[in-house]
């Protein structure tokens, strides 16, 4: 009797537990996915449909909203600006952090730990508190309203994260290969270009992905450091849509969809790298 009651109790608990688990997972599924799905569906409706019935599917798919978005907001040019800035920032960031990461992971010298700690401690700084100095510095070097300023700023802001990821990855490359290469007469520079750099590709891709996503999405420094439409990035562009598309909400949603497609595509391709990059720091606590 007693044991029957006990198993009954356990079964109820396990059913309740399973229901609870399902509710939690479903709730966060909706939080993560539903707004995006809704945005996509809304971007294919007419404005009238959106206002009358925000949750139904469109009767006819209004792909013309995407055409409107491309035309009205000069989206292709903004898209190119963002591509240029993101690739520029990733290239500059990976160039400088791979050089430093090579030395920090493979060489013994005084002050190595200090340099490493200093560089990675940069993540603790709230970058928004640097608005005044960044603006002043960029204006003084005559790069205000120039996309190159954004490339340099984004590449620099990502130094702490990239140094952490690249150095950790380079440390895991076995030293034997380099030792053999040195015996064969490989120079310092050749060890970097011919051995460590090719072997560190995975780490560089991870660091580059983080930098790309940051640069692609960044808003406030772009707002602060540029002014004309010739150096406007996509994020600034879709921010300004609010005033341009006063009533045309569905075209605005189409424009937002266009702006997030690259992030989603990159994430779909590289999500395993991104997740392993995030957890590289988790183990250390």
């Amino acid at each position: 009797m007693n044991s029957v009651q006990r198993t009954l109790k356990q079964q109820t608990a396990s059913v309740l537990g399973k229901a609870g688990v399902f509710i939690v997972l479903a709730f966060f599924f909706i939080i993560a996915a539903f707004p995006l799905v809704w945005l996509f569906i809304s971007s294919l409706k007419t404005n009238l449909e959106l206002q009358i019935s925000p949750f139904t599917l469109p009767k006819v798919l209004q792909w013309s909203n995407y055409g409107n978005a491309l035309k009205m907001a000069n989206l292709p040019a903004l898209f190119l600006h963002s591509i240029y800035v993101a690739f520029g920032a990733v290239s500059l960031n990976l160039l400088v952090t791979s050089l430093a990461g090579f030395v920090l992971s493979r060489e013994q010298f005084r002050g190595r730990e200090l340099v490493y700690t200093l560089l990675t401690a940069g993540v603790l700084v709230p970058i928004i508190s640097f608005m005044v100095p960044y603006f002043t510095l960029i204006t003084r070097v005559k790069l205000y309203d120039n996309l190159i300023a954004l490339i340099i700023v984004y590449a620099s802001i990502n130094i702490p994260v990239s140094i952490f990821l690249v150095t950790a990855f380079m440390r895991s490359i076995p030293k034997e290969m380099e030792e053999a290469a040195v015996i064969d007469g490989c120079t310092f520079v050749q060890r970097y270009t011919k051995i460590v750099l090719p072997l560190a590709q995975t780490g560089l891709v991870t660091a580059g992905t983080f930098c790309f996503i940051y640069a692609w999405n960044e808003f406030i420094m772009a707002l602060l450091l540029t002014s004309s439409s010739s150096s406007r990035t996509l994020q600034l562009g879709i921010r300004f849509f609010t005033s341009q598309f006063v009533t045309d909400y569905t075209s605005m949603y189409a424009a937002i969809m266009i702006s997030i497609i690259p992030s989603i595509a990159l994430y779909t391709m590289l999500h395993n790298r991104i997740i392993s990059g995030l957890t590289a720091g988790a183990v250390k606590g």
Binding site: V132, T136, L278
Partner: protein, 298 residues
């Protein structure tokens, strides 16, 4: 690695210097110089155009006697606590569930992180649409349930909660970090508990949580630090309004800069860094000292 046993040669040292130089130049320009810059200019009356004048701690005095700045500080603390003590427990809960590898757990892990790769601008537009009083998703759902709608972002009573809620519910980043820590716990601990007849709940509280307490403290600290520096979602969704209900230190920094009050803007930057640092140190020492779980894990 050295080419001979005689230590680092001069040429070798030069090589190290050349390889480190680019990163150090950028780091000095965009991290160290700005730090010195705001420390000094926060003590000055400066419009960016006129010549800066040394005025001591006047900017700080002015800020702390300004009631809207105090609201900004208060809101930043609310952000920090909501992030540390709502977002992290939620992330932990989901991580604990996913760690037991339910069906589709890998897919869910990937999906929960997805919002983190989407720009703040797009998310802000999205949530503005959700909260929109006329055609928004939230009021639409409420009307399906027969409940009245509400102007979520336009009402001082709900605006701050509305902006914080959309951020705190994106748990993906911390969930992944916590999940990784849980996965690192050796299986042997659970096997022993299983033999002793410990339930899932007991295992969670006696093994899992104590074993990941270090990661949890780090996550809470980080989440609170992010809350203290919060800027973008508020700037894009409400601009700090209505009537300063959602303002933060970051918003005020931007507004001061926009009004060419660079000295005050720098002072806010310095306060932001100081408060953030104090909070990090305080939370870390509080949580790891008074938390018996953290001690048990050490």
């Amino acid at each position: 690695m050295r080419r001979d046993g005689s230590g680092v040669s001069g040429r070798h040292r030069l090589g190290i210097g050349i390889f480190l130089a680019p990163v150090l130049i950028l780091y000095v320009a965009f991290f160290l110089y700005p730090l010195v810059f705001i420390s000094i200019t926060s003590l000055m009356e400066w419009t960016g155009i006129s010549k800066a004048q040394f005025i001591g701690f006047e900017n700080y005095k002015k800020l702390f006697s300004d009631s809207t700045f105090i609201i900004g500080i208060r809101n930043n603390f609310i952000w920090a606590f909501a992030s540390g003590f709502i977002q992290i427990p939620l992330a932990t809960l989901v991580a604990l569930i996913l760690a037991r590898k339910p069906p589709l757990w890998k897919f869910l892990r990937t999906l929960y992180f997805l919002p983190n790769v989407i720009s703040a601008v797009a998310l802000a537009m999205l949530w503005k649409a959700i909260y929109n009083p006329a055609y928004g998703l939230l009021n639409g759902l409420l009307s399906l349930l027969g409940l009245p709608g509400h102007n979520w972002l336009g009402d001082t009573a709900t605006a701050l909660t509305a902006v914080i809620a959309q951020s705190v519910l994106y748990i993906g980043y911390f969930m992944i970090i916590i999940l990784a820590a849980i996965t690192n716990i050796p299986d042997s601990l659970y096997e022993a508990a299983e033999i002793d007849g410990a339930s899932v709940v007991q295992q969670t509280f006696r093994i899992t949580l104590p074993m990941i307490s270090g990661t949890l403290v780090t996550s809470i600290t980080l989440a609170m630090a992010y809350g203290m520096r919060h800027f973008e979602a508020t700037f894009l969704m409400t601009g700090g309004g209505p009537a300063y209900a959602t303002t933060t230190m970051g918003i005020q920094l931007y507004n001061k800069m926009d009004a060419f009050r660079y000295g005050e803007a720098s002072a806010i930057g310095a306060i932001l860094i100081l408060l953030g640092t104090v909070l990090i140190v305080l939370i870390r020492s509080l949580l790891s000292k008074n938390d018996p779980m953290a001690e048990a894990a050490q």
